[in-house]
Symmetry: C3
Subunit: 137 residues, 3 copies
C-alpha cells in the first residue's frame, strides 16, 4: 500500500493481493483515523464476499473472479466493526452485483480515498435491528 495525506483527505493505492480490510485498518492506524468516510474506491477486487442483510443475518455470495470496482463507500469508526463498506462490482459481461462487503483482496489494485473527520465515530448495538450501528456523535 502507498498512501498520502493532504489536509483531511487521504489517498492510498492498495496493491495486488493485499487484503482490503487489513489495508484500511493499517491506513487508519497510520493517520490516526477514529472517524472517517470512504468517498471513492476504484480498481478491481477478487476473492470477495458480499452480503444482503435480510433483517436477521447476511445472505452471502463469494466470488473468486476479479471484478471491476465501480462503487465503494463506507465508514471508519474507532469501535468494532471498525470498517463498514458497501460495493458495486462489474464482471466480464459488464453486469453488476453488490452489497455489504465482508472480505476482499485487491487485484491488480484499488485506488481508495478517505475523508478523515475529527473526533471519534463509534458503533452502538441496536436491539431493534440486531446491528451495531454508526454513532456519529
Amino acid at each position: 500500500m502507498i498512501h498520502r495525506q493532504d489536509g483531511n483527505v487521504i489517498v492510498c493505492k492498495i496493491e495486488k493481493d493485499e487484503d482490503v480490510f487489513q489495508s484500511i485498518e493499517n491506513l487508519a492506524k497510520i493517520y490516526g483515523i477514529n472517524a472517517g468516510i470512504i468517498v471513492s474506491g476504484i480498481g478491481m477486487l477478487k476473492n470477495f464476499e458480499i452480503g444482503y442483510y435480510n433483517g436477521r443475518d447476511y445472505e452471502k455470495k463469494f466470488m473468486e473472479k476479479n471484478h471491476e470496482l465501480v462503487a465503494m463507500h463506507g465508514s471508519i469508526a474507532s469501535d468494532d466493526p471498525k470498517i463498514h463498506i458497501h460495493v458495486g462490482l462489474a464482471g466480464p459481461d459488464h453486469s453488476i452485483i453488490g452489497g455489504h462487503l465482508l472480505s476482499a483482496k485487491a487485484d491488480p489494485f484499488v485506488e481508495l480515498t478517505v475523508i478523515k473527520v475529527s473526533g471519534k465515530f463509534s458503533r452502538i448495538y441496536n436491539e431493534k435491528t440486531g446491528l451495531k450501528e454508526l454513532n456519529v456523535l
Copy 2:
C-alpha cells in the same frame, strides 16, 4: 437522524423508517446548506421509487423490499428541486438496480455524507432538455 459537522464535511445517520428526502432537507436547514454534494451513502432503502429519464419523463419502478444501498450521490441546491439523487441498490440475489431516486425510506439506516460548498447552487429550467438543471455559478 443524528448528525455532525467537521469543517465542510457533514455526516449523518438517517434512522429506521425516516424519509430520505425529508431527512436531507432537514440536514440542509440545520447546517445552512445552500450548495452541497452527497459524496457517500450506504445502508439500506425500502419503499423506494427510482426513475429512468427517457427525454420526456421518468419511467418509474417502485420497490417495497429493502435493498442494500451501494451508491448514492447527488446535489443539494437552494431552489426546487432542492435535492437531486441517483442510487444503485442491491437486492437479496445481489443483483443491482438503480437510477434517479424519487422517494425512499431508510431501513435499518442510511449513513450519509455531504460536502457543503460556499454560496448557492440553483436549478434553472432548460427548454432543450425539459429539466430544471443544476447551476453551480
Copy 3:
C-alpha cells in the same frame, strides 16, 4: 461546462453532448489539478464505452443509448492516462452495467465533483499487471 471552486472542492456541470474526458481535462487545466479524486458524478451518459480488464486487455462494450449515471469515481494524475474513471449506469429497465470508462458524452448533463489534492499524482508502468498504475507519492 460550468464550474466553481470552493477550497479543494471543484464542482462542475458538463453540458449536453460534451465529451466527458475532454471536459475533465479542461477542468484540470483551469484549476491546475495535478492530483485529484472524482468523488461524485450523476446525470446521464450516452455513446459510452465501458471495459472489463481480463489481465491482458479490456473486454469492451459500446452503448449509444442514454443511461442514468449512478456511480462515477476516479483519479486525475499529471501523467497519461491523466484520467481513470469507473462507472455504474442504469438503463430504461433500471438494471445496471458498468466498469472502466473508455469514452462517453454527457446527455442531458453530468454533475461532477472533484477533490483537488496538493502536489502531483503520476502513473507508473507495472510489468506484473501490464497497467500504468496510480502513484500517489
